[in-house]
Symmetry: C2
Subunit: 143 residues, 2 copies
DNA sequence: TGACAAATGCGAATCATTTGCATCTACATT
DNA sequence: AATGTAGATGCAAATGATTCGCATTTGTCA
């Protein structure tokens, strides 16, 4: 997603194009890992963009509302993490050692929601799946 | 689980048998829904057991450590919920309308962890799955 | 029964997140 | 390009869930 794409994406959602927003989207777009509001705030400082932490929170909130970002909650971390919404249904594999997060693009629950809907008479809207384990590197250092 | 069972369960885990603990375990054992620390605190008051909220938190913590309870986090609720550990691997189906929580005792991920371990070289320790939707009753009132 | 570790109460601290309000800015319209 | 206005931001204070330090109490075991 180029700068111009970000611009039109914001516009399409009725959001003003501000330095802060484009920067936040840019950082998240390029990040290989979901990150927290605080981390984002610090990354902005590194990039010499002065911003207030509440603005970070507010921006993240609006971007989530517009489905440009996705919220993520990880066991043992009380903060909310945010990641760029690549518009692909995915889950996460989280290393309990180094906390690294891997996206999994295959959903093992395809079809299951229908079965569950039949069994329970619920209408299913979605699900949330995180898988926890140790990455190859942490397995070595955990002996 | 009878009172005596709770007693020996505590003992087996090196925990002292106190009025508070047995009461908390008893409430959770009988509850059809996972509940929060605050709710538990209020339920104790109803039962005329005076207790401090920090004690509730501390008790819940130790009981989780000993695997007598399970923590549960639900999207859109920033509190932690607790449920009695029935020693059965289960997931939860949560109604987005009335917030009711249904336990699902069939795990749709059996076998998948092995596949994932092979693909990623992670050692998998466990997973977390919540499914969201609307219960029959809330479907009606949501028209 | 007495000793001692563990459990509790109380109040204050912490941490992530939200909110109220005054000010500022992007952008549509003139 | 100037301008009006809704929306965006900064700042400081509030909130809500949870944790912590420390003095006191209580369960358990010898």
């Amino acid at each position: 997603m180029k700068k111009t794409d970000i611009y039109s994406e914001l516009k399409r959602n009725g959001l003003k194009n501000t330095k802060h927003r484009t920067m936040i989207l840019d950082i998240l777009k390029k990040s290989s890992q979901p990150i927290s509001a605080e981390q984002l705030f610090e990354e902005m400082l590194v990039r010499k963009i002065s911003i207030n932490l509440s603005t970070v929170y507010r921006t993240l909130d609006t971007l989530c509302d517009k489905n440009l970002l996705i919220k993520l909650n990880v066991k043992g971390d009380n903060r909310t993490l945010f990641e760029f919404n690549h518009m692909i249904h995915r889950h996460h594999l989280i290393c309990l050692g180094c906390k690294k997060i891997l996206a999994i693009e295959h959903c093992p629950l395809e079809g299951y929601e229908k079965v569950l809907a039949n069994e329970t008479n619920f209408t299913i809207e979605g699900h949330n799946l995180n898988i926890y384990g140790y990455c190859p590197n942490c397995q070595i250092h955990n002996l």
